[in-house]
């Protein structure tokens, strides 16, 4: 009897051993939550995952890389340093990006969501493809300051990343393409389409706008939607909105990329989704509050080179009440479902 028990026990151990799975690094994610989304009424995205197919393992690798400080030259800065999940992946309370060796950049870190609809990236539109976007901040000497090859070598030497790359791609060889595509699976799946405004538009959950929000929406549609166009709340164009040139940064904007004089001082129209969570505002973070932003548009605007013709040089004629209504409306664009989505949070915490 004892013998038989021991034999069965031994078989059991053998079988269990043969079937052992690697411990999960994170809680498993339901696969159906990791799909491309095109909300009803939205245009087709610029980037689809037809070649770079989505998998949970690629997402997990991409998320690890997004929060990986080894992507910077001195292992201190990750993408997540300046793109915080609770701020819709903007950098809360930071006018401009903070990088290695306490260096500061010249531009405000924008929120990250709905990226697959963006035709180009960065405030100056210098990057033409979502897969290449991470190379910008990684190589910028004011941000992460790293050459891509030493980063690849560091990842290759790490048993954690050997394991993550093997799971995502079937072998553990780290290449720039594998790295960038996994990051694209993570970044591109950060969608924002569940704000109060979205529920209202979709007539879901009996959500109604308040009177102030409704008045703000009407003012917004009449005055702001030419550039901040629904449903993404950006036309992704390049405009000068009348901001005077900061004498310290001397940032000439889009002309830096195109060399065309008509692009001087133009910057990409930001989406206004989650705008209540992504302060400070403008390409250099010069405004701390939405009130200041509205004041900019109602003040007389200097007749700057390439000022967008839709902007009245004597300022928009909004009353104090108008401004408060517009701000009330802008608050309806906050997507609390995204802000609390643990799939996108730093897995190290």
């Amino acid at each position: 009897m004892n013998r038989i028990t021991i034999i069965f026990f031994l078989f059991g151990v053998l079988i269990l051993g043969a079937c052992k799975v690697d411990p999960k690094i994170i809680e498993p994610l339901p696969a159906d939550n990791l799909a491309e989304v095109i909300p009803e009424g939205w245009p087709q995205p610029k980037y689809t995952y037809s070649v770079n197919t989505i998998s949970e393992d690629k997402f997990v690798l991409g998320r690890a890389l997004f929060y990986e400080e080894m992507l910077s030259v001195d292992n201190t800065i990750s993408c997540g340093t300046c793109h915080q999940d609770f701020a819709a992946f903007a950098h809360a309370e930071h006018k401009v990006s903070h990088g290695i060796f306490d260096r500061v950049g010249i531009r405000n870190a924008p929120g990250i969501f709905n990226l697959t609809w963006h035709p180009v990236f960065m405030h100056d539109g210098g990057i033409n493809h979502i897969e290449l976007q991470p190379l910008g901040p990684i190589s910028n000497t004011l941000e992460m300051g790293a050459d891509i090859n030493p980063v690849i070598a560091k990842l290759q030497a790490s048993s954690k990343y050997q394991n993550l790359f093997r799971k995502a791609y079937g072998n553990d060889t780290v290449t720039s393409q594998k790295m960038l595509r996994a990051m694209t699976v993570f970044m591109g799946l950060i969608y924002s389409y569940n704000s109060k405004f979205d529920y209202y538009k979709r007539k879901e959950n009996n959500v109604e706008l308040s009177d102030a929000e409704q008045r703000g929406y009407s003012l917004f549609t009449a005055n702001c939607s030419g550039c901040h166009t629904e449903p993404l709340f950006s036309d992704f164009g390049f405009k000068s909105n009348g901001l005077t040139v900061d004498p310290f940064y001397q940032d000439s904007g889009r002309v830096h990329i195109t060399g065309l004089p008509q692009d001087r001082y133009k910057f990409k129209t930001p989406s206004l989704r989650n705008i209540a969570k992504t302060a400070p505002y403008m390409h250099d973070g010069r405004f701390t509050t939405l009130n200041e932003c509205l004041d900019h548009y109602t003040n007389a605007i200097p007749n700057l080179t390439n000022l967008d013709p839709s902007i009245p040089t004597n300022g928009y004629q909004f009353t104090a009440q108008n401004k408060q209504d517009i701000i009330a409306f802008l608050h309806t664009l906050t997507d609390y479902k995204l802000l609390g989505d643990k799939r996108f949070a730093d897995p190290n915490f």
Binding site: G126, H129, L132, I257
Partner: protein
């Protein structure tokens, strides 16, 4: 009890079976080797300064009579097409090659699977076509970690020459030319096409031809614009100045001969 013991061999058998590796079917008899119908053509790029062979970090004289050294010379050759005597063509698939003078093997491009025929001409692009400049993360010679991609303004550096000159106006006496820009009037890709004159490249079972090209670096410094290192020592972005250098290199590569 006894019954249980009787089952043990059965359980053993089951366990063994469940762990058994899939036995491969016996290898099918290979077909008799099919007669080859293709072979390889090679394109060899020899680098010179005027008629002297280019050696990295040695002194040469440019058309402006300035002394200079080259420390880095890398450029893309892409979209290779070879044309038969009957005007049909062989288009190399995934035709992107990074020539790096510091890596001698990269200076010969091997094009496998070229059908047997007599070929009279070759054409290719210096640079990378605009499509691949807009296609995201790439592999092989186009991977974004070859030091040939602008991360701040997406696009390939099509041609990179770095070095030094006592006449350079740069504080470190350096020369730094990163020539790129893939679209619009200032694009820097240039197309080259050559006919092999009297000697076609005859691809056959026994012949793998070598097309010899020469690349004269001094052509980069002249015609139509003679470069003066005192003021023209650095070019690191796309635009009208990059186009000026591209116009200079548009006659830089010359056909020498075919070895059959």
């Amino acid at each position: 009890m006894k019954n249980t013991i009787k089952f043990i061999p059965l359980i053993l058998l089951l366990v063994v079976l469940s762990c058994k590796k899939d036995k491969k079917d016996p290898e099918p008899e290979p077909d008799p080797t099919p007669a080859a119908t293709t072979n390889t053509i090679k394109i060899l790029f020899k680098h010179t300064v005027d008629t002297s062979t280019l050696v990295l970090n040695q002194n040469y004289v440019n058309p402006n009579l300035d002394t200079f050294k080259v420390s880095v010379l890398k450029y893309y050759i892409s979209n290779i097409v070879i044309t038969k005597n009957d005007n049909t063509t062989y288009v190399e698939p995934e035709s992107y090659h990074l020539i790096d003078v510091s890596n001698i093997s990269s200076t010969t491009i091997s094009i496998p699977n070229v059908p047997f025929a007599s070929y009279k001409s070759v054409s290719f692009m210096l640079g990378v076509d605009s499509t691949r400049n807009c296609s995201g993360a790439q592999t092989g010679d186009l991977a974004q970690n070859k030091g040939m991609f602008w991360t701040w303004a997406s696009g390939y550096i099509m041609f990179k020459l770095e070095g030094s000159s006592p006449q350079s106006g740069a504080s470190n006496k350096g020369l730094e030319y990163h020539i790129g820009g893939f679209g619009g009037v200032n694009k820097v890709q240039r197309n080259f096409s050559y006919t092999f004159a009297s000697t076609p490249a005859n691809v056959s079972a026994s012949v793998s031809p070598i097309i010899h090209m020469s690349v004269d670096i001094n052509e980069f410094f002249k015609n139509p614009t003679t470069i003066n290192f005192a003021t023209q020592h650095t070019q690191l972005s796309a635009g009208v100045n990059a186009k000026m250098f591209a116009d200079n290199y548009s006659d830089m590569i010359k056909f020498e001969h075919v070895n059959n």
